[in-house]
């Protein structure tokens, strides 16, 4: 069988891989995108759908801002609407310590254009009368929003195809090998793909490939726990999240334009990456039922109609792996976004395309270089 060849092979068709394919094509490079299942089927398709910057580490805000610029012209660029709704984002707290945390962040991130406003409980309830009486403070960021994860990555994938990317779905790969100057990717069905550059955007499975190149990273696969209510008249506005002292007790929610309210939080479960299955623990659904009405008492009148989960890769330092390999020329990584990748997706694609095409990027991504874990490889060896 003859090998299919391109300038770049991308392994993993989530929002990172699809966006990278799109922007590499925009730069005129030929692209093969390999996806084991369907585009955007794993973490990219089942996450909460936040398109937010607030709450991210300050070091990440330039990348997040770059991504925001792409989100703002999503339809124009990718040809279809991903139900982007920019009605702001709000974090609310119940204690003085929560208020302190929010105020500290608002101060640290004040130069990044988020427009954050600290508000007291009374002012919050005047503006958002559905908020519960226990809330004492909040931080409102008016420009943030959310989109539909089920639609976004597939739209970007189709746009990449229209731009000329060769996308192979349902293509299980056996391995990625360094082959002379370039890379060879062997598929389970016997096909081989070749390119001088390989970009690994394999999400929770990314470290399997980085490990095969001698670069193991400390990542575990976790399953976020989502649920959704029946549709009710649109009334909420901002995506809202409550601070908590125990991460398992956090809760956040967003109302989509057609009325359903998507609720996340309540901690995460471990996921089975081998069988590619992730389940919802009923206990975590119960935690949400307990905590969501503290933020919005009217939740008590609604019903959960469905729960779901997915598989996300979490780094032990919560920072993604993004940038060139520390060992193998021509090899690049963008995975391990630790549950925060959806908003970054289009920006990561543009940055990786820029990096691969020009050898550098104007966006600071140094904290995400895989070399921070080289001691792991040394210990393993």
């Amino acid at each position: 069988m003859s090998a299919l060849a391109a300038d770049v092979i991308i392994v993993g068709g989530g929002i990172m891989g699809a966006s990278s394919a799109f922007f590499l094509r925009k730069r005129g490079m030929s692209v093969i995108l390999l996806e084991r299942g369907l585009i955007g089927q794993q973490a990219s398709g089942v996450n909460f759908g936040n398109v937010r910057r607030m709450g991210r580490p300050v070091e990440q805000l330039p990348l997040s801002n770059r991504s925001r610029e792409i989100w703002l012209k999503f339809k124009e660029l990718f040809g279809e609407d991903a139900e982007l709704l920019l009605n702001g984002q709000m974090r609310v707290g119940f204690t003085p310590e929560h208020e302190e945390r929010m105020a500290k962040y608002a101060q640290e991130a004040k130069d990044f254009g988020l427009g954050m406003q600290m508000m007291g409980g009374k002012a919050l309830r005047e503006r958002f009368p559905w908020l519960g009486p226990e809330i004492t403070s909040g931080c409102y960021a008016p420009y943030e929003g959310h989109a539909n994860p089920r639609l976004a990555a597939p739209i970007i994938g189709r746009a990449a195809v229209r731009e000329g990317a060769q996308v192979f779905e349902n293509t299980e790969i056996v391995n990625v090998e360094k082959d002379g100057e370039g890379f060879r990717v062997n598929a389970a069905d016997g096909r081989t793909f070749r390119a001088p550059v390989a970009l690994i955007t394999a999400g929770a499975w990314g470290n399997l490939i980085s490990t095969s190149f001698g670069e193991p990273v400390p990542m575990i696969a976790k399953a976020p726990q989502m649920c959704v209510t029946e549709p009710v008249p649109y009334a909420i506005g901002p995506t809202t999240g409550a601070l908590s002292d125990d991460p398992d007790q956090g809760v956040y929610f967003r109302q989509v334009a057609r009325g359903n309210i998507v609720i996340g939080g309540g901690g995460r479960e471990l996921a089975d990456i081998e069988n590619r299955r992730a389940y919802v623990n009923p206990r975590r659904t119960m935690i949400k039922l307990k905590n969501a009405p503290r933020v919005m008492p009217a939740f008590k009148h609604l019903h959960i109609i469905r729960v779901w989960s997915g598989i996300e890769g979490y780094m032990d330092d919560s920072r993604p792996i993004m940038g060139p390999s520390a060992r193998v020329p021509g090899l690049y990584y963008a995975f391990g976004f630790s549950g925060e990748g959806f908003q970054l997706g289009p920006g990561v694609g543009e940055v990786m395309a820029e990096l691969i095409h020009t050898g550098m990027t104007t966006t600071p991504i140094e904290p995400y270089h895989i070399r921070r874990f080289t001691n792991l490889a040394a210990n393993a060896a």
């Binding site: 597939p154 209510t229 206990r283 659904t285 008590k300 469905r306």
Partner: protein
């Protein structure tokens, strides 16, 4: 060793007979049931203070209904009965149940799922108008509350329930505008040898049809539903259909009862992670069961119509078989002769089931012919055209992918009512066999879960 903890879900014919057998063997099972009283859908007991006699409520099946109710009444002190309780999730050998806004996790060593069946529905243009009911709902209205769904009711679809419920409506004094059966008459003739496996049941069925005709009800076979006419303000106003020769007719009515036989309620089996297989004969995915109701998951058993639609009598047999399988797996001795006898009865029921499937086939071709503006998924109001668009323009040829991109099956019913027809629409649009479309993954909760529910702390 402590007594094994056994939970039975459902107090219909399968659940009650399963409980009876387990109690006889000295176990104390827990029976969880969504209804307020035992009997299931078929032998649903009327609310307290309603006084209709058995013969009136259950017709030819009155003695069976009464026997089942009396059996359960007699068992009450020897089992733990949780009525009005929804089994909403399963995880890690625990059944999660909710009762009066309290959720509890009940640990089990063995679980027998007797979840019964609901109507199998095929969309038709206009089926979202108020006044369109499933066959089962039409019957529940009558059985539980002595209400008819309308003044002029058309019964449309196929399957034995079509004739049974229409007859019950006639008896109750409602006006049945017509009985419109999509199955061609000749299919019934061809199925006769298999239907003769249960001559008495066959005779009852024929008597129902004859009774309807005697009462002056128009009964047509081999019809094709075209549209339910109506408006958002006044609901259903009529039914348009083609007769067996292809001529178009319009019938005035203010309500339509629809159903195409039944489909097993398989969400709990799915949440218990049981394996499924595609059943070519009825074109649907069913839990994979071995002998006597054993699933692919050790300790999880299925019985009754929730496993495979064999009807109430077979459910009573199936409940006993599942109980005996469970007892065998616990290392108890079970009477060989009884087991053999039950299996022989079940084989006869299975032959009859095949006859029914042959006589009243699922009209898959109707899904292919649905006009683009007909709604497929009523919960989310998604049309056939929108579903076809994600198949043809976005390459979504698999059920869950098509759901993700179109929302078909994403609403309150989670595809219980639109899933089968949706799969047929996808298969036809994609030009692939329907089994290749796969099945919608079941997610909790089994039914919508109130957010006022709190976890019970012991």
């Amino acid at each position: 060793m402590a007594e094994p903890r056994v939970i039975i879900v459902g107090a219909g014919p399968a659940g009650v007979r399963c409980a009876e057998t387990l109690v006889s063997a000295g176990l104390r099972p827990t029976v969880v049931d969504e209804n307020r009283r035992d009997g299931g859908q078929i032998y649903r007991r009327q609310p307290a203070n309603f006084t209709r006699p058995y013969a009136k409520l259950y017709g030819t099946e009155a003695h069976r209904a009464q026997a089942l109710h009396e059996t359960f009444d007699a068992l009450r002190s020897r089992l733990d009965y949780l009525p009005n309780t929804l089994a909403w999730n399963i995880s890690d050998h625990k059944l999660h149940v909710v009762h009066e806004e309290r959720s509890r996790a009940l640990p089990y060593d063995a679980l027998v799922i007797c979840s019964g069946a609901t109507d199998r529905l095929m969309p038709v243009k206009g089926w979202h108008y108020a006044g369109t009911y499933s066959m089962g709902a039409s019957q529940i209205a009558l059985k539980a509350q002595a209400c008819a769904i309308g003044r002029q009711v058309v019964f449309m679809g196929t399957g034995p329930l079509l004739y049974l419920v229409a007859s019950q409506y006639v008896k109750a004094g409602a006006t049945v505008a017509a009985v419109l059966d999509t199955s061609p008459f000749m299919r019934r003739v061809a199925a006769l040898p298999k239907l003769l496996a249960r001559p008495a049941v066959l005779f009852n069925g024929l008597a129902l049809v004859a009774g309807l005709k005697r009462a002056g009800v128009k009964v047509l076979t081999g019809i094709t539903p075209i549209e339910i006419k109506g408006s958002p303000e006044s609901g259903v106003q009529g039914v348009v259909f083609h007769d067996a020769r292809g001529n178009t007719h319009t019938l005035e009515c203010d309500a339509v009862a629809m159903g195409y036989h039944l489909r097993p309620e398989t969400q709990l089996a799915d949440l218990a992670r049981c394996a499924f297989r595609f059943d070519q004969e009825t074109r649907q995915w069913l839990p994979q069961v071995g002998e006597d109701g054993r699933t692919s998951v050790p300790g999880v058993y299925l019985a009754g119509d929730g496993m495979r639609v064999l009807g109430a009598d077979a459910a009573e047999v199936g409940g006993q078989l599942a109980a005996l399988a469970l007892l065998t797996d616990l290392g108890r001795k079970v009477p060989e002769g009884e087991l053999k006898g039950l299996r022989a009865q079940q084989a006869q029921m299975e032959r009859f089931r095949q006859g029914l499937a042959q006589a009243f086939p699922w009209p898959a071709q109707q899904a292919a012919q649905l006009p683009d503006d007909a709604i497929v998924c009523r919960c989310e109001a998604i049309t056939a055209g929108e579903l076809r668009r994600v198949v043809c323009d976005m390459g979504a040829q698999e059920a869950n992918r098509a759901k993700a991109l179109s929302r078909v099956g994403m609403g309150r019913c989670q595809g219980r009512y639109c899933g089968h027809a949706g799969a047929e629409v996808i298969a036809h649009a994609a030009g692939v066999p329907v089994e290749q479309v796969g099945r919608l993954r079941g997610q909790a909760p089994v039914k919508p879960l109130s957010m006022a529910v709190r976890e019970e702390t012991e």
